[in-house]
Amino acid sequence: MTIHFVNEMEYLHRDILSMCSTVEELIHDAVDGLNHGRSELAQEVSLRDGEVDRWDIRIEEECLKILALYHPVANDLRRVAVVMKIAAELERVADLAVSIAERSAGIAEHGEFTMPSRLSQMTEEALSMLHDSIDAFVEENSVAARLICKRDELVDKLNRELIEEVVTVMKRQPELVEPSLHLFSVIRHVERVADHATNIAEDVVYLVEAAIIRHPRLHR
């Protein structure tokens, strides 16, 4: 058993890492598109989302296969469960990337719409959270993971501020309602990317410490 099982677990690990890097690239490209406004980007990102979807299905199949054939327990069981969850999160992040790319295409249509400066701060923060959470997963570092969960608050703050800004713009310049609405969506999406990163970090904590820290309200 061991060799087969260890092999399977390795494959699984390799696959989830591939998926991680694909999704990271994807979301980076999508966010880049915000700043440099490439209209064909949406098309491209959407295509590559298909790849992520395939990874998602593939990893889920692998996880179920491992559960059925090797009956993992302890650490291994947690790892399989966590990989399934992370894959689902990443798949959603990829979907968000597609949405962001679409929105930024929408924004680009409107020519001289200026992006709020703090948007790039927010996206950077969210993407770095995502990256760090993946790193924490690779390193099985639950301390780092817990730190990531804290950083979500900063993103939430930026989110609120940016939305206020958008509202102001819309009120002031009704002709910019459409790009603003796109921007609004983008902001919400980025915020959700950060949420997903937080989820991944929480999963990492579970993987390492066998403790579920989701829904922190419950533990207060």
């Binding site: 327990v73 947690r78 579970y206 410490e209 066998a210």
Partner: protein, 275 residues
């Protein structure tokens, strides 16, 4: 917060024993610093373990690690092996059973035992179950009949054998024989039942019945079970103790041992990475 244990908040929907809080139960057996020797060969090292009342405790560990030996100290079956020696304290319901004044015959009635291989006596089914009460002096036929019936019922065997109580017990199938042995043990009115790999010689279907039976019996009896089968340990027990080379490495709620063991050795063992 521990991982998958039961401290989640919603009020209990589940059955009682799922999340049995072991520490709340009084201890049926308490072993303190037990060493055990076969002649000069020490096989148990400073084992301390508390078995709560009306729970199932599984002993797991690789072959030869001393599980059976430990189990057999609990009703002093090891006395039958010459040259064996036991140091430490074993309290069964508060009494030290290592006391020389202890009468092993009474002790063994109180702490029943079921073995790996089913061992029906070559007598009728009735006589098998009635054996314990009879040696204890019970002769009243109707009392015995009632007792046999109730024990066979508890062992989920009554329906299968009620029409052939006077037939030889050897004609039963392996799984039935094993349940008969459980019934026979119940007839001595024990409070604690020790089981040494009770299902390892059975096919899955019979194993299943035995496991279910254990699940039912633990409502009234304290059960300690040795098993090689990790899945079995996980399925039937509330508490699991992992032995390795005569040392009790880790003990805790079964869920804990099976999802988040604290010792690396335990984890390696239950995930099958040993050797």
């Amino acid at each position: 917060m521990p991982a998958i244990t039961s401290s989640s908040v919603p009020p209990s929907v589940a059955g009682v024993d799922r999340n049995l809080d072991m520490s709340a139960h009084p201890a049926a057996i308490q072993v303190n610093g037990l060493d055990f020797y076969y002649s000069e060969h020490q096989v148990l090292f400073n084992v301390s373990l508390t078995v709560p009342e009306r729970s199932v405790t599984a002993l797991i560990g690789p072959s030869g690690c001393g599980k059976s030996t430990f189990l057999r100290t609990l009703n002093r079956m090891n006395d039958l092996i010459e040259g064996s020696r036991c140091v430490g304290q074993i309290l069964v319901e508060g009494q030290n059973i290592m006391d020389p004044a202890v009468d092993v015959v009474l002790l063994r009635k109180h702490v029943g035992m079921v073995f790996q291989k089913s061992t029906p006596f070559p007598k009728s089914i009735f006589d098998n179950v009635a054996y314990g009460p009879r040696v204890a002096g019970e002769t009243n036929r109707s009392v015995l009949a009632d007792l046999v019936e109730s024990c066979l019922k508890k062992a989920a065997l009554w329906d299968e054998v009620k029409d052939r109580l006077t037939k030889s017990a050897m004609a039963l199938s392996g799984g039935q024989q094993q349940r008969l042995c459980i019934a026979r043990t119940l007839a001595t009115n024990p409070r604690i039942i020790l089981m040494d790999e009770p299902a390892s010689a059975l096919d899955p279907a019979s194993t299943d019945r035995i496991e279910n039976l254990i699940g039912e019996l633990c409502a009234n009896y304290t059960i300690v079970i040795v098993t090689h089968n990790m899945q079995q340990a996980s399925r039937v027990s509330h508490q699991t103790a992992f032995f390795y080379k005569g040392v009790l490495v880790e003990t805790g709620p079964t869920m804990k041992i099976f999802t988040g063991p604290s010792e690396k050795k335990t984890e390696d063992y239950i995930t099958g990475r040993f050797g």
